[in-house]
């Protein structure tokens, strides 16, 4: 760094140092005035002053400071410094005029062409001005041409039928017009033989004339109004039956031409009147149709009801017959049951009478027997002496009883004595067994004490001990068996 620059920087640092010191003094002054001391804030301010001071000292010492200088950092920490301005945001040309494309901010001036907004389709909001075509709704004003009313299927049919009728009539007229010169020719030519027409009693209606259909006797509610030249009028003007063949040459009577169609009214009132008339006619037709259908329905219903009544009557008659038969059968059964009951009652009455008679006979027999027995008992009561045989028997029995008692007492005494003997002998036997056991133990101890003696003497001693013990045990058993036998004998006696 050059010397001048260093000096300049030093000067700047000195000024900054002074400013910061003063600022710190102002801070202390503010705290004093407000009497609100903040050590942290003071420390921070002091650090800033110390930073500048350090840098200044370093610069004075000839040491170039590293990093950004405090003078450069002396900006607020808001980030407002060194930020690009709005002017820098433009390209270097700076040519931003109204001729350029407009940004997508939606800010359009009058100099820029607007997008063809007027030619856009309207949204489906239903907002249509008078200049636009009307939607298909029922809202028609007088300024707009009213749309043709939608015809129903039946109305269309009726219109078609009417049209066909008109065409047919026109054809008839045309035919009649053609036939007229022919008849004139026929009148002039007399020599030509005429075909004899069949004499018919009934008038033959025109072939082209519509005949009323039998399948449709009732007019439809939706049918159109009947046309003026009704088919019924055709048979009303029949041709006279030709009495002679020459009379067939008479000209055909042509029906009067139909009235020319009325011109279509253009006045809305006339249109309305026509519509009203049409609707009235339709209503009338519908009314007639309804009446006819009601009548037909009533007839049909009546017939159905009559049939139902007849069938019900037949069913009722059959049911009545069945009921009568059932009643007759029931009466017959009841009669049979009554007869059976009568028979059973009579038989049971006879049986009861027999049983009563039998009981009476038995009672009489019992009474006779009782009378006989009472007569026999009175006879021994009158004698009164005791029987000596019976008395001897009683004394002998008493003697036997006493002897038996004495024998039993004697046997009991003997048994008690014998029991004492057995107890004593058992005690003795126990003593002997104990003595034998003691002797055996002694012998074993002796055998163990003298192992040096020969094996033969030891075996002999053992066998002798065992034999003695066996003898003692068998003797004891014999004694016990004897005592048991004697006990049993005494108990049985």
């Amino acid at each position: 760094m050059r010397k001048g620059a260093l000096k300049k920087k030093q000067r700047q640092l000195e000024e900054l140092h002074l400013d910061r010191r003063e600022a710190l003094g102002e801070l202390v002054l503010g705290m004093y005035v407000q009497n609100s001391w903040d050590d942290d804030l003071l420390a921070r301010g002091s650090a800033e002053v110390a930073e500048v001071e350090t840098e200044l000292n370093e610069l004075i010492a000839g040491k170039e400071p590293e990093g950004p200088s405090a003078t450069e950092k002396d900006f607020p920490v808001t980030g407002e410094h060194r930020l690009p301005t709005m002017e820098q945001d433009y390209p270097a040309t700076g040519e931003y005029t109204a001729e350029h494309t407009v940004p997508v901010t939606g800010e359009h001036t009058s100099e820029q062409p607007l997008p063809d907004s007027g030619e856009h389709d309207y949204p489906a909001t239903g907002e249509y001005t008078a200049e636009h075509s009307l939607p298909e709704s029922a809202e028609h004003t007088a300024e707009h041409e009213a749309a043709a009313p939608k015809l129903t299927r039946a109305e269309k049919k009726a219109a078609k039928k009417e049209k066909r009728e008109r065409e047919r009539r026109a054809k008839e007229e045309a035919k009649a017009a053609e036939a007229e010169p022919q008849t004139a020719e026929q009148k002039t030519v007399v020599t030509e033989p005429a075909k004899p027409s069949e004499p018919t009693g009934t008038p033959t209606p025109s072939a082209a004339a519509p005949t009323p259909s039998a399948a449709a006797p009732t007019p439809s509610a939706t049918a159109s109004t009947p046309s003026a030249p009704a088919p019924a009028s055709t048979p009303a003007t029949p041709e006279k039956p030709a009495a002679k063949p020459s009379e067939t040459k008479k000209p055909i009577e042509v029906p009067p031409p139909p009235a020319p169609p009325e011109p279509e009214p253009t006045d809305p009132l006339d249109l309305l009147e026509k519509q009203i008339t049409d609707s009235e006619a339709k209503a009338k037709t519908a009314l007639e149709a309804a009446k006819a259908s009601r009548q037909a329905d009533a007839q049909t219903e009546l017939a159905a009801i009559t049939r139902e009544v007849e069938s019900g009557r037949g069913e009722l008659d059959e049911a009545l017959k069945r009921t009568a038969a059932a009643i007759a059968a029931a009466e017959e059964k009841a009669a049979q049951a009554e007869a059976r009951l009568t028979r059973e009652t009579a038989s049971s009455r006879e049986a009861a009478a027999e049983w009563v008679r039998g009981q009476a006979a038995e009672i009489e027999a019992d009474a006779a027997l009782a009378a006989e027995m009472s007569g026999k008992q009175e006879e021994p009561a009158q004698s009164g002496d005791p029987d000596p045989v019976l008395a001897a028997r009683v004394t002998s029995l008493e003697a036997e009883l006493a002897a038996e008692k004495a024998a039993k007492e004697e046997a009991l005494a003997k048994a008690a004595a014998r029991l004492q003997e057995i107890e004593q002998s058992a005690k003795l036997a126990e003593a002997r067994v104990e003595a034998a056991e003691a002797a055996a133990t002694e012998a074993q101890s002796k055998a163990a004490a003298a192992p040096a003696s020969d094996g033969a003497s030891e075996a002999e001693a053992r066998e002798a001990a065992v034999n003695w013990l066996r003898g003692q045990i068998s003797a004891l058993r014999q004694e016990i068996a004897k005592s048991d036998e004697t006990g049993k004998q005494e108990g049985g006696s």
């Binding site: 010191r21 003063e22 710190l24 003094g25 202390v28 002054l29 004093y32 001391w37 420390a43 002091s46």
Partner: protein, 98 residues
């Protein structure tokens, strides 16, 4: 000269007042700088002596008060005597401002 008089204040008084105001301003800056240096030293020691700081700040407050008075005298064209009276009245304690 009467045209340039502002009340009873003479030009000399005015200049004196202006000079005194500059002096006061310098003194204020100096005192503030000293106060700041004192704060830095206290921060280096790790402890702030509020008594000393209050004394230094009170000196600055006195300077501010006198400077305000002089500025008012300059604005209103008061004489030095008037200014002294005003200072006594303002002070209320009988001691005049320096």
């Amino acid at each position: 000269m009467a045209l340039f008089n502002r009340g009873g204040q003479s030009g000399r008084e005015r200049r004196a007042m202006q000079d005194h105001l500059r002096e006061l301003d310098e003194m204020r800056r100096s005192n503030l700088s000293d106060l700041g240096q004192m704060t830095v030293e206290m921060a280096a020691q790790g402890r702030f002596d509020r008594q000393r700081l209050s004394e230094g700040a009170a000196e600055v407050v006195k300077i501010d008060r006198e400077a305000d008075l002089i500025a008012r005298g300059l604005e209103e064209g008061l004489t030095l005597q008037e200014l002294e009276d005003l200072a006594r009245g303002v002070d209320g304690s009988g001691s005049s401002a320096e």
